[in-house]
Symmetry: C2
Subunit: 387 residues, 2 copies
Amino acid sequence: MQSTHLREHNLSALLGALVAADSPVSRATLATATGLTKPTVSKLVEELIGAGLITEGAPVPVGAGRPMVPLSPARRTLLAIGLEIAADHVACLGIDLSGEVVAHRLEYLRVTASSADEALRACARVVGQVRADAGDLPVVGAVVAVPGRIAPDDGRVLSAPNLDWTEVPLVGRLLERPELADLTVRAQNDNRLSVLTEIDRRPGDSFLYLRGSTGVGGAIVLDGELMDGRNGWAGELGHTVVEPGGALCRCGRRGCLEAYVSYHSLRERAGLGDEVRIEDLVDALAGSGDRAAVIGLIGRSLGLALANALNILDLDTVVLSGYLAPIAAELDPFIRGTVEAHALAVEAGPVRIERSDDQTDPALHGAARAALQPVLTAPGEWIARTR
Amino acid sequence: MQSTHLREHNLSALLGALVAADSPVSRATLATATGLTKPTVSKLVEELIGAGLITEGAPVPVGAGRPMVPLSPARRTLLAIGLEIAADHVACLGIDLSGEVVAHRLEYLRVTASSADEALRACARVVGQVRADAGDLPVVGAVVAVPGRIAPDDGRVLSAPNLDWTEVPLVGRLLERPELADLTVRAQNDNRLSVLTEIDRRPGDSFLYLRGSTGVGGAIVLDGELMDGRNGWAGELGHTVVEPGGALCRCGRRGCLEAYVSYHSLRERAGLGDEVRIEDLVDALAGSGDRAAVIGLIGRSLGLALANALNILDLDTVVLSGYLAPIAAELDPFIRGTVEAHALAVEAGPVRIERSDDQTDPALHGAARAALQPVLTAPGEWIARTR
């Protein structure tokens, strides 16, 4: 038992080091990176090669010594499936162990309460297509990104205001579809998946992550770890109150941040149709008028919600994502003005307001990455399953 | 090196088990509690007895076997000093390893910016008196509770609005006094010390702690551990905004929770003098008028700040302390109404609003307990120091 446990731990450390490396590495480098002996590394690497998780490249001459054999995560030997349900589309992304995209499918549809079944059928279709496109590679599992609160025990969507969903037994229903019936399926809040790329970019950092999209949501990262809370909902800044008794939010509450700065709320308040793309929102709102006024309005609402969150958490870094990322520099003075007026953190030093990287579909990519995780955590189990 | 480390770890485990026990325990019970062998326990216990950290009681006959020798934390062999600087007094509490109060001294004075020096002299006096009262027992160290933000590196008070203090080099100045010059002195926020008793009462729990006093502050407890944040300021709910652009707070900001529900703000807004004691505040505010209106006002402000904090942290339990504890049941419907209107946590189940225990001076007791911690964490170091 102990040795199975140790073997799993060592396999996971090796595979983790390999996946984290930017370029192919030698067995000797892996031994240094993991602290394992060279004979142990060699033995386990053979096993991982045999299981199709590691690929050996052509030997590279190194000075007078033995040539170096470069090792990489295997490509196209397995499939991790990310699925995203957004207000206007469902999408599926299949990646392999190297993180490379194997297949991607998308269907546009307006997802609402009445179309939940239609959305689930579309989900099943895009998953089926991605699995077929990938030539029926063995699948690690699927993770579904949803803009809402998920019950931690059974994958029900408790509420997803921007889909008009309440109490949708998402995971249960997906498992009824033949395209997913044989898979391990988990559901997760979209913002908590979006932040995964940002965690990789800022190893060990602590920051507050805020994403502007159809709705507004966030995540809290402490020393490189995502904070969970009781139900896995920590970081829901979108429904903190910035104006008591204020505007009606799609969640049914009043004065939520989301009621002021989400794509939905900004567009509707300005009387714009939903043909305005989210990336064009601020341009459309500004029109021929005062762009600074639009930015100021968004920035001040964000500033208040962020100041409150920074006070509660005692953090000093904010990362803006989604439609907020490209306008982060414009928002900065407005957010900063409000944050500096209210956040205690400024007594210790300046608050940093940064933008996330520009990856498109971060929730979908995060979902696929999360789906890959079981292989990285327990390669031995995966090997036993696929043998 | 490794064995010193191991020895310290084992000594700490033994002493921790002994202090946590409600009644005297045997060597055999300690072996079970710590997982150490009986010979190891016997050897280490002898050492702790020799160092005056453990006391052996009279043997108690146990059936036909060898009599049980009851062990307890030693009394009055060392002193841990808690010090509290409040708006209207400074106090010092000396406890021993068993947690028993050895000495307590208090001086009333109005602490303000202009009287910072006077307050520091009073601190030194009460410490000197407590040390003398305790018969000059060896002192582990002193922890000072302050209602404000402390610089984590050097114990400066950055801001303590209810003392009118900004940038007071508290620890540095205390160390200049002969009564404290030979001690390790640390400063800590008063609410973060107050919560320690509550953490003991709810082992492993996660909750939000809110204390109403001259000001209003809080702490966040996750799985029994106090959350720190970047500067050790996490949980500062008192300066989250409940009314944008609202009432002026003593911290200089506008609309803070503290500007609505602290003793200071409630008393001043009602035009009451500071002869009103904090425990009589609500009675005085209600006067012959509408008590429910007073409670409702406090409850709704608290509810909004708590709802925001619960959304950010994804917690479902609130513990009210200070002047809020005795009126927790009265506040409950008003807090609950606002929390249920805004907190996402209610989608997963009811939010619990509870009261803290009724210990008087929780910050002072917490400070003394925190001052004791080094002996519990590293008994070997303490033994070497006092040998």
